[in-house]
Point group: C2
Chain length 311, copies 2
Amino acid sequence: MVKGKRIGVDLGGTTAKIGVVNENNEIVERIILPMDHKPPFEEAIKAIAEAILQLGDIASVGFGVPSTLIPGSDIIIHANNLGWKNADIRGELKKYLKDIPVYIANDADCAAVGEMMHGAAMGVGNTLMLTLGTGVGGSFIYQNKLFLGGNGFGFEPGHISIERNGISCTCGNRGCLECYASATALARAAVECKESALLARLIDENHGKANAKMVFGAAAAGDHAANRILDDYINALAVGVANLITLFGPDLVVIGGGVSGAGERLFAPLRELAYGMVDGIDVMGRPPIVPAQLGNDAGIIGAAMLDYALN
Amino acid sequence: MVKGKRIGVDLGGTTAKIGVVNENNEIVERIILPMDHKPPFEEAIKAIAEAILQLGDIASVGFGVPSTLIPGSDIIIHANNLGWKNADIRGELKKYLKDIPVYIANDADCAAVGEMMHGAAMGVGNTLMLTLGTGVGGSFIYQNKLFLGGNGFGFEPGHISIERNGISCTCGNRGCLECYASATALARAAVECKESALLARLIDENHGKANAKMVFGAAAAGDHAANRILDDYINALAVGVANLITLFGPDLVVIGGGVSGAGERLFAPLRELAYGMVDGIDVMGRPPIVPAQLGNDAGIIGAAMLDYALN
């Protein structure tokens, strides 16, 4: 039994969400600090640390950050949305939190830990999680611990190539999974589509901006072009999921991000296609492929539980 | 210090190679039993076990088998080249070996363990090994142990798709790495090539059979078509290696199989291409990409060391 409050912090580009997580892995108290004014690193960490300390009786603090971290030192390499580079978050937090144990991880990894502790992957030892958003993020929980790879830099499924001569990715590689399977990729396909009056109208009504929801909506209304776009999107996602099942042998696959709310129009073909692409799937058994459950709370809950999931 | 002889067995389609491995991880005694007459399972295991027992003073026996194994029970699912299916190798061996500890793994995994213990990956904690042969086999040594995936069925890099609408693979999937990066794929490209008189002559002189060596030979002689074939081959291999570096963060990449003897015509462009495809490679550091060192002995040495590499 832990004594004191376990704190999880989900640090994003617009807010820092601080939560107190109880012994049932539920959030029982919240503080939200704005970050959209892009405060300098030291100022932001001071504000977060002071807010945490005001909660009193702190047992531990877990931090999810939107960046890759240097293994060992936990230095933020580049938090794009915050404009922070090479920032020593552990050192800066320690100035205020002193001897309180601090755990730090990538935000996608925190979300996966949250799903493992209290969501779709509760009680499952080996879970693959993919989050479909601006990019494709992901985590692998291996034997109840975060798999961070041999070098400790973490698991980067968005940047495996599924079309070696495909689209040029922002990372410099070609055909990366996130070029085809992110929510952004689905919205881009809608914008580029010239054959759907319905999609064109929906985009127009939304001031020229497309999103994944429009494509699912148009497809549900029977629009042929929208259904073709979705079929291709789901095929790409299935290739990514199948490659990862082939390599990692998860017990469960959890899909997060806004797109994961699309229901069986996404999940039914995704399962059928992905299982069909894995050699020996019937000997190994088909890992269920399910939506994430915790939504935005996963990051806070997972951050508070990091001590459990980090080696 | 282990007391008694550590035995490694490399069971293949044409021979069972039995070796006594000393404390320096060298093979000091060998027995080779023919398997090309395709003996029934029980008969073959009896012959191997009796040969082992004649060596006397046995500490442990490790077995590398050309099949996926059922996790836990070590049942051979399908040893294609031997014609064995659902064979209880552990149970059958125990009839003869009684209380001698027995360790069993896939043959590719044994080769990787051999390279880790006494070859190219000696002293390295996290090694990715790919073996380029009829297919593309592979193993990942993670924190000094064989990574067998969440479900324990092992690591199957040959069947990740690198061209989602690519060539149909024997496994049912499309665009699998081994369709492009196996030694077989390189030989097939030579046969299909219509623009090289030199390649056509080499294949003709070899009774219509192409192999990887011919392509490297013709390329070295300045043949343009052979160089184009090689460039495409190395590109595909680089995509596979880059995808695996992105996901597994190895400290070292070891390439085995006959093709790995091709020297810098293979390795120089492979390194340049693969590193260029990995997002954040300069932050993580470039894992060396090197040829395997032990050749055919890797399987025996690794089998004898399995107790060290299995959890």
